[in-house]
């Protein structure tokens, strides 16, 4: 647990977009997926995650949809919109550029 790190500032949206690009998911599903794929490195705060959903939904990056679950409960599922997909592409590109730049800097120093 102590090895868990909060999601790097400013990357939560990108992680959400990436996760939802695979399939529509509800909030916990997204959190669990991020945790699992990052092998437990990133831990998502549910408050931040659900707020991010609100923001991204209003920005038109994702759509929300209530679905009935098997145990007679409502669950809110999120899916990527076309704008969200474009946004994901742009953010991935930007991220890759930044990572390689940082890596170059670190290598130069080392």
């Amino acid at each position: 647990m102590d090895d868990n790190t909060d999601v790097i500032q400013g990357t939560l949206d990108m992680l959400i977009l990436k996760t939802l690009s695979l399939e529509p998911l509800h909030g916990f599903g997204v959190a669990r997926r991020i945790e699992q794929v990052s092998r437990g490195v990133f831990k998502v705060n549910p408050g931040s995650l659900l707020t991010a959903f609100q923001r991204m939904e209003r920005a038109g990056l994702i759509d929300a949809e209530w679905r009935q679950t098997e145990n007679a409960r409502r669950a809110k599922y999120y899916s990527l919109t076309r704008a969200g997909r474009r946004q994901l592409g742009a953010e991935t590109e930007g991220w890759a550029r930044r990572v390689s730049a940082v890596a170059r800097l670190l290598n130069a120093e080392g």
Binding site: R58, R73, A75, K76
Partner: protein
Amino acid sequence: MSLWRQVTRGARVLFFRARADADVADEVGHYYEQSVAAHVAGGLSPEEARRAARREVGNMTVVREQVRSYGWENMVGTFVSDLRYAARRLGNNPGFTTVAALTLALGIGASTAIFSAVYPILFESLPYPHAERIVTVWYAASDHGRALQSFGNYREVAARSRTLDAIAAFKTWQPTMGGAAEPERLDGQRVSASYLRVLGVRPALGRDFDAADDRIRGPNVVVISNALWRRRLGADSTVVGRQLTLDGDAFTVLGVLPPGFESVLGPSAQIWGLLQYDEALPGSGREWGHHLQAVARLRPGVDAARATSEINQIAHAPVPEFARQPGSFMDKGMIVDALRDDITRAVRPGLLAVVGAVVLLLLIATVNVTNLLLARGAQRRGELAMRAALGAGQTRIVRQLITESLLLALVGGALGLLVAAVGVRALVALSPAGMPRLSAIGVHAPVFAFSLIASTVIGVVVGLAPALRASRHDLHGALQQGSRRTAGGHGFTRGTLVAAEVALALVLLVNAGLLLRSLDRLFSIPPGFDPAHLLTMQVQIASPQRYPKDADFNRFYAAALDVVRQVPGVRGAAFTSELPLDGADISTDEYRVQIDMGASSSSAEATELGQAAALRYAVTPGYFEAMGIPLHRGRLFDDRDVAGAAVRPLVVSESFARRAYGNTDPIGRRIRLGGPPNRPWDEIVGVVGDVKQASLAAGETEAVYATTAQWLWAETPLWLVVRAQGDAAALAPAVRKAIWSVDKDQPVIRVSTVDALVAASEAQRRFVMIVFEAFGIAALALAAIGIYGVLANSVTERVRELGVRAALGASSSDILRLVLRDGMVLTVLGIVAGLGGAAAASHAIVTLLYGVPRLDPIAYVVAIALLTAVSAVACWVPAARAAGVDPAITLRAE
């Protein structure tokens, strides 16, 4: 797309808050359940799984709050709840709210009303194109300042001046319009053909006057106002060329003025005819009478100073083409005034004084609201500290307080608008006769906005002080304030503000007192006649065709007098051409008088002539008796003085006799009043007491009386004066009926008691005084509220200290004195500060004072006594409460 989503999602949350909250709760709940399920699937027992899930999700309430707080709609929600809370706070404290809102309303309303009234009069440009180029042209008269023009001199200036685009002459005209069922007397003007061109107006219908028509025996043509056209002519668009019957003659309508035309030079004028004077300028005619006003339009690029110097040059350099009559005042020079300055000259001092008064009142109101908010802020320190301790951020508290101040300002502003609307109406109703541009007065939106914003900003800034103090770290100290031991430093600020209020109130009260005493002095001046039980009205001959000769005029008036004297309750009656204190411009009736200085009437006489100017009255016998003007020497007019007498008898006033003859007896001396210089001499037969003609404040007016029958021409209208046995006003219907029994078609107008005319003659001073008194009383009340507020607050804060004092043996009268002293110290400090202010402010109203020195001790003493008494009462209430403090209770409350 995203903006659309922002708006719709936010609006949905705003309007269906409960459903949105349920959605969030569902989503968070689902998250938790999924987490539990995942842990169970991972092999934990349900109990352990739930614990792990709780650890993972955290406090669900906090998560829900976090998600809920996203979105712009929350700002709106906060604002609405702030507003609701503010309304509740204000509602819970009705005393504070009422006083603060009423104070704001008074300040905002009064200042808006006054500025709304004053702005169009003093500052707004007149409603004519290039109004800044319109000027009036007067003679410079030696003692009256400005005198009216004669037609002859007007013509000379019009022909010779190069700085004027156009110049026009005009006089008032009150024709009676017949033809319909009821004859109606209209207000209008006789003007030269250039009049409308000078003002820059063109008729909306028909055409302007033609210069060719403005000649003696020219065609009878009129231009009418839009209002008259609608009211009497049914807004008929084919009215041009139609005939109107005016004073029994047919006049052709030339044009109708546009609806927006405002007749600044004759506010009630509805009809305009031509002067049609004789261009040949006969020496004995009205062409040389000084009875015309002149208005001109400067050429573009010419300023008033250049026009003044050019016109004066013309005045001082006669040329042979323009022969002048001896005694034409032109050689004394001319005065050129901007039109706006001209029409406001008389009312400017009064209006500026009123503006000063309202600024003082606004200051007092602002100080009062500031004080109230400060006191309230101090009371709320505990509450605010509590909210801060419970986690309210500084911005949240500040926003809350601003909301409160704004709400208060809004309520105050709404009430203020009401006060302003009523106030403007009251001002127009109260305004003295001769106030220009009344029709342009209305609530002035920019001024209202300004005073609203000013007081709001002050409220917000002041309201913030306690918020900032509370949200600064010192929560502990603030929460402990339950037991305040001393009045804090803010008590000093508030004390200073109260003293300032007292000072400002004193300034208003002293000046109100000075004006009140001036009016008192004025009304105690004897007018030279007995105004009590005196009824007056104007009787006009409106159909001259029925009375073709001068003798016919006189016969009508004599017959009217005969029947009026028969009316029961009438003790005496007479006609006069001029009525003292009737509010008319006296320069119209000033005549030059030649005085025979030597005993001989030889050819050397011209060098021995004295020149003088005097007011001329044409009266019927019985005038002096009816008015109660005392005879000092000689005889009064009687039935011997009829037309055709070889020597015309004159009665002169005491001051005229003194100036012309010193101590020698004037009876039997010869003078010449009016008319051509070679007329036979008139003879003085009597000397009567002086009468105030223009105003009570004006100096002695030299006057010469002739009988109407012997005057140079027959005049109409004449003033009828009726001395009544009892109530003068009650006689009016009977007198009017008596006149109409002679000829029912002749109008009887301006019926009034002389008492009312005398009061109206000081209308401007009275108006300013009423405003000062009203504001003074308001200021007194506000100052009292201020003192009361500060003391009551300090007693609340010092309850423990007072309890200790009482426990240690201070008697309740000791405590009473202690608190009273605190209040009275503020009052005295304020009064001391106010004395200087009052003395300085009285400079501004010095022109309105009469017979009272600027530093009149009585006005000061009375104002100070009044202020002290009121503040003592305001102090007494909290002091009595303090004296009633029970030491046992206060100390136990610790």
